[in-house]
């Protein structure tokens, strides 16, 4: 089993130890030499899987995760669902004991299942229970390939403890298939040409490129497509200084054609839902606007969990990987570029350049509001953090970036939402540690804007970062509440006309205030705070960066404005 995992090129295996994979664990660290993969000690299975999620978003491939049967998988399940909804490859090896004669005690019975992977089958791409080492090898390579084929996702390989612990004669040679990844699905030429025709004929084509970019090459392609069309890009990994970067999305109201590329919720991209007593939806686009889509999402869809979002019916709908399809789309657009269209397109580019500059200036003006307020404003926090990052090779591995930051590398953010694919809270802390691990070999300065509620789910990941010397500056966005939930309860109280004074009951994290610096210190992480006064922020962040530059994690607890 260790040889199989080595053959797949895993750098790390993240796990909270469990007896159902004790033999594999021991073999990894002794027979395998605890290198490629190296064992990462995790304090929660959810942390292990989310670390894998964050790592894969940066590295472009999974790390291995081991989990104990039943209870371990139950702990891991939310993070697996996040990875599934986020289309992120996670490779999970799950311990289990099928043979009742091998169950030693009461605990083994509690921690065994007839069909161990069943619990997460609704939100994994594939699973298997190999009955032999030959099958384990084949299934592991198959699982890896399935996880890495767009739409990517988590896979589970059950490693039965009987199979793990049975001796293998020295002379036995188990064939391990060679890993060959699948070529991602690309759009067929007729549909691509039709999309190009509609884009080139449009007066204002708008690109919503949510998950379209995975690599540096993908980011270059997106820039080339946008520049060919002189079309604004409202979402996705696109250089923020580029005049066609329009992340506020307002430009969508002017669109006559909208191209969604790997948009998780295309309906939501062109509608807004009004959450009042009588909920209503309003279209953000004009009647008759042509919707186009390139996305692999419907190539793999399941019924139970509803993350497939509201139905849309694009005029042209290509079931393919966007990054793989972009070269053909760019060429098709260029072929349609006539002298007449060139002038109109260039004029559109001039208008969008002006709009981009206006929006940036508005954002700069808005950043001055509450500049000296206490608790610290978001914009002040962003500006202070940016000052330390701007001249470095940096990456934001948790939280959302500021509109004023210069983002021009695909690895500088974690994706459009920056949170777990399914919005499962508790993701940012472990995913940021996993992503920082992937960045470590490149020497990048990693920063995470870490919300308080998220960290409290499994703060043990701080210890994992300290133990494995993962350099990461964690800047707490400590607003001392689950503010989104405060607002939901407040909304209901308003709706019921009962007064809103009690909306903070059950939604705030005060009395006592949580001392995140003390928590971090207890986990072996350098820390400072709480900091409420903006004037104290710069020096504390600088000291944190100094620690990170020495290869260690650091945490600066900043008490912030709500949202």
């Amino acid at each position: 089993m260790v040889q199989v995992l080595k053959s797949l090129g895993f750098e790390y295996v993240a796990a909270n130890p469990g007896s159902s994979f004790r033999s594999l664990h021991e073999s990894l660290v002794n027979f395998g030499g605890n290198i490629n993969p190296e064992f990462l000690t995790c304090c929660h299975e959810e942390s292990a899987v989310a670390m894998g999620d964050g790592y894969a978003r940066i590295e472009g491939k999974p790390l291995a995760v081991c989990a104990h049967s039943t209870v371990g998988l139950q702990h891991a399940s939310m993070a697996i669902y996040n990875a599934y909804a986020g289309r992120v490859p996670v490779f999970l090896v799950l311990g289990n004991t099928v043979d009742i004669t091998l169950r030693r005690n009461l605990g083994d019975w509690d921690h065994s299942a007839q069909d161990a992977a069943a619990m997460v089958r609704d939100y994994t791409k594939w699973d298997d229970l190999p009955a032999s080492l030959t099958q384990f090898a084949e299934s592991a390579v198959r699982a890896y390939r399935i996880a890495m084929t767009p739409p990517m996702g988590p896979v589970v390989l059950v490693a039965d403890s009987g199979l793990q612990e049975s001796p293998v004669p020295e002379t036995t040679r188990i064939p391990i298939p060679k890993l060959t990844l699948m070529s991602p699905p690309a759009g067929d030429s007729a549909a691509v040409n039709e999309i190009a025709r509609l884009l080139m004929a449009a007066e204002m084509p708008v690109i919503v490129a949510e998950r379209a970019v995975r690599t540096a090459a993908g980011m270059k392609l997106l820039v080339e497509l946008a520049e060919t069309l002189q079309a604004p890009v409202t979402q996705g990994k696109f250089p923020t200084d580029h005049p066609l970067s329009h992340p506020d999305g307002k430009v969508i109201a002017d669109a006559d054609v909208v191209l969604g590329m790997e948009v998780n919720d295309l309906w939501g991209a062109v509608h807004v839902y009004r959450d009042q007593l009588h909920g209503s939806a309003r279209s953000l686009i004009r009647p008759g606007v042509k919707l186009l889509s390139i996305s692999p999402n419907e190539l793999y869809i399941k019924s139970n969990y509803q993350n497939f979002q509201r139905f849309t019916d694009p005029e042209v709908n290509i079931a393919a990987d966007a990054e793989t399809t972009m070269p053909a789309l760019i060429e098709a657009c260029k072929r349609l570029l006539t002298a007449d269209r060139k002038n109109a397109i260039a004029e559109r580019g001039r208008r969008l350049t002006q709009r981009h500059a206006q929006a940036r200036e508005q954002a700069r003006q808005a950043a001055t509001l509450a500049w000296d307020a206490s608790p610290v404003s978001w914009q002040r926090l962003f500006a202070e953090v940016w000052e330390l990052m701007k001249d470095q090779d940096w990456a934001l591995v948790g939280g959302q970036p500021s509109r004023l930051w210069r983002i021009d590398r695909h690895y500088q953010t974690m994706g459009v939402t920056g949170s777990g694919g399914a919005g499962g809270v508790g993701f940012t802390a472990p995913a940021s540690v996993g992503a920082a691990l992937a960045h470590r070999k490149h020497g990048r300065l990693c920063v995470s804007i870490q919300s308080d509620g998220d960290l409290l789910y499994a703060p043990g990941v701080l210890w994992t970062a300290a133990h494995h010397r993962i350099p990461l500056l964690i800047v707490m966005h400590n607003n001392r509440a689950y503010h989104q939930e405060v607002m939901h309860v407040q909304r209901m109280a308003n709706r019921h006309q009962r007064g809103i004074e009690n909306a903070r009951t059950g939604t705030t994290l005060t009395n006592p205030d949580i001392d995140f610096a003390a928590i971090a210190k207890g986990m072996g992480v350098y820390s400072e705070g709480p900091i409420s006064a903006p004037k104290d922020l710069a020096a504390a962040l600088r000291r944190g960066v100094d620690v990170v530059r020495k290869g260690e994690p650091a945490l600066v607890d900043v008490v912030t404005q709500p949202r």
């Binding site: 950043a367 509001l369 307020a373 989104q484 607002m487 407040q490």
Partner: protein, 126 residues
């Protein structure tokens, strides 16, 4: 009624999108339209009634709500919007926030000073 609500919604949308402005003349005109309010009480209400959740402690706005200070929109539009919001904000009936509460909150918003110019802040200089 429908026309006036549309007007109010438009006024609020305008307020959401504009950059901070520094017009003394405008402030004076708004003051004339606002009822008497207790700014200190309004500051407490701003927190107690949860305004800060979306708009920030000094009305600066954020990811969940627009900027509402400094230079709040005229009081009649402010009051009407609270009672009959057009977008995501939940309505605040008189049972939840009295007219006097609104006047106090408005008085607090009027005390919020103008922000510094971005060019005077080294971190925000171009």
């Amino acid at each position: 009624m429908r026309v006036s609500l549309i007007f109010i919604a438009a006024a609020v949308l305008w307020a959401q999108t504009r950059a901070p402005e520094r017009s003394k003349q405008q402030t004076t005109r708004k003051d004339a339209a606002a009822p008497a309010g207790d700014a200190a009480k309004g500051k407490k209400l701003f927190t107690a009634t949860g305004c800060y959740e979306c708009h920030g402690y000094v009305g600066q706005g954020g990811t969940a709500g627009p900027r509402i200070a400094p230079d709040p929109i005229p009081f009649p539009a402010f009051s009407a919007y609270l009672r009959h919001p057009a977008n995501q904000m939940p309505p605040y009936t008189e049972k939840v926030a009295s007219n006097q509460d609104l006047a106090d909150i408005y008085a607090y918003l009027k005390t919020i000073p103008q922000p510094p110019s971005p060019d005077s802040i080294p971190l925000l200089k171009k």
